[in-house]
Amino acid sequence: MSLLELSNLDVAYGDLPALSDVSLAVEAGETLSVVGANGSGKTTMLRTISGLLRPRRGEVRFEGERIDRLPCHRVVERGVVHVPEGRKVFPSLAVRENLELGSYPRAARAHRADSLERVFSLFPRLRERAGQAAGTLSGGEQQMLAIGRALMARPTLLMLDEPSLGLAPLIVTEIFRTIDAIHRAGVTVLLVEQNTRQALALSRRGYVLENGRVVLVGTGAELLGNEHVKRAYLGM
């Protein structure tokens, strides 16, 4: 049994199909990337898994149980935590308050002090800025905060939507290094990225989405060597 299984998922915005017959499996302990162009359905996929959107057809199973009819907060309580595109931190709340809210679910709340210490050691910058309003942070720091906040929930599966978006190359490298560290600490990672090269290099396996359909599946290395991927996504 895979940790997370999407089977034959159809999702649409009104009459506009966003995902068509998408099936995908995330194995426990792996880092999996989903790459594709803007509008290929990557974000829609994550939003469906976390309960922000309802599928027209198909199922989402986590640890064998269906989660596609659960409200968002129940999905989080099960250990599936989504770092959304654009970070969605709470700008006027302090960095520390943002992190505390990450451990809002009851089970996570009991470990708040531990988790906070872990996040601060992963992102020392956040400790320095703990009392500052999140809205005053730089883009890179806000991304760290969004990831840190998600870790406060003690996820089994961490889903990241475009963590590199809009960040300077140096910061992007730092973020990817952190994602790798989180994965090595035992968290399963589902990464959605347009930064195809770095995402696939980091991942054990990858999926390529085009127009809401899965067109390629393979190991990270296979996909990086694939002619179509090279031409369409790596500019080679």
Binding site: C72, F90, E100
Partner: protein, 292 residues
């Protein structure tokens, strides 16, 4: 005409009523911040709380201040119920429809009060109703002082709650970034109900605090509702601290207006202020804080 004594008296009266406006407005602002609707039934809920205070006093001789222990929590629950049953099912309706919904609720509650208790002005007069002392040349009525102090304490308690508790932080988070809040595992439906409940609780406390020196009638909430709306615009929609400060400003403007202008024009100053703020500082005097 405009003697210094009169001015001092106007300032004292304005500040004392301003605290109550601040509390009513804090509740309104909180509801707006989280639910993104102007709750036109806010004053009607205050009216119900004033009747509750009146009946507790008239039938059971419960002191109006003491009755807060009962009406506060009861109206918190009533607010949650209203949100769950009336507001929440229409959450995805167009904004103006939700607005009409709360206006309809206000009309319903007012007319219900009219049917149940007629339109007579009723008053609650405990032994201390006429207690007063002089401050310099100004007369300070003790019930008004207690109302102001009680309202400020309640408003500060609300700020403390929003700053220090998980539920309070969740309320602020939801006001700022609803999707972020959902993804943090916050049961946003529950938080919306709690926010409405707190808003109703605030206005119920304000209602109980003013009954010793105000009249009780089915339409008594309307003037408070309008004042609270002005305060919220003045303080910045969804800015809780702004709501309390704005309360004092509106209270002062109203009582200075009453001193300077003939009777029926007394609210001219308040609404002139309202229009000026909308024209020149549409985000409010203290900046448009969302959920601050």
């Amino acid at each position: 005409m405009f003697s210094l004594d009169l001015l001092l008296q106007a300032v004292v009266s304005g500040v004392l009523l301003g605290g109550v406006y601040g509390l009513v407005a804090s509740g309104l602002s909180l509801i707006f911040g989280v639910l993104r609707i102007i709750n036109f039934a806010h004053g009607a809920v205050m009216m119900l709380a004033m009747y509750a205070t009146y009946w507790l006093f008239a039938l059971l001789h419960v002191d109006p201040y003491l009755s807060i222990v009962v009406t506060g929590p009861a109206f918190f629950l009533l607010g949650m119920l209203i949100q769950r049953v009336v507001i929440e099912p229409n959450r995805f309706a167009a904004e103006h429809n939700q607005l009409l919904l709360t206006l309809g609720l206000a009309l319903f509650l007012e007319n219900l009060a009219l049917v149940l208790w007629q339109g007579d002005f009723r008053t609650v007069r405990p032994a201390y109703a006429n207690a007063s002392f002089t401050l310099g040349e100004a007369l300070v009525e003790v019930p008004r002082l207690v109302a102001c102090a009680g309202a400020v304490v309640m408003a500060l308690a609300l700020f403390g709650f929003l700053r220090l508790t998980d539920v309070g932080k969740a309320i602020r988070a939801l006001a700022e970034e609803p999707e972020g809040a959902m993804l943090m595992g916050i049961d946003v439906g529950r938080i919306r109900a709690v926010a409405f409940g707190i808003g109703a609780g605030c206005v119920a406390v304000a209602g109980a605090l003013v009954t010793p020196f105000f009249y009780v009638a089915p339409d008594v909430g309307e003037s408070f509702n309008i004042m609270a709306f002005v305060v919220v615009v003045l303080g910045g929609m969804g800015n809780f601290v702004g709501a309390l400060l704005g309360g004092f400003i509106v209270g002062l403007a109203e009582s200075l207006g009453a001193t300077a202008l003939p009777g029926s024009l007394k609210q001219l100053v308040v609404f002139a202020l309202f229009v000026l703020v909308l024209l020149f500082r549409p985000a409010g005097l203290f900046g448009g804080g969302r959920g601050r």
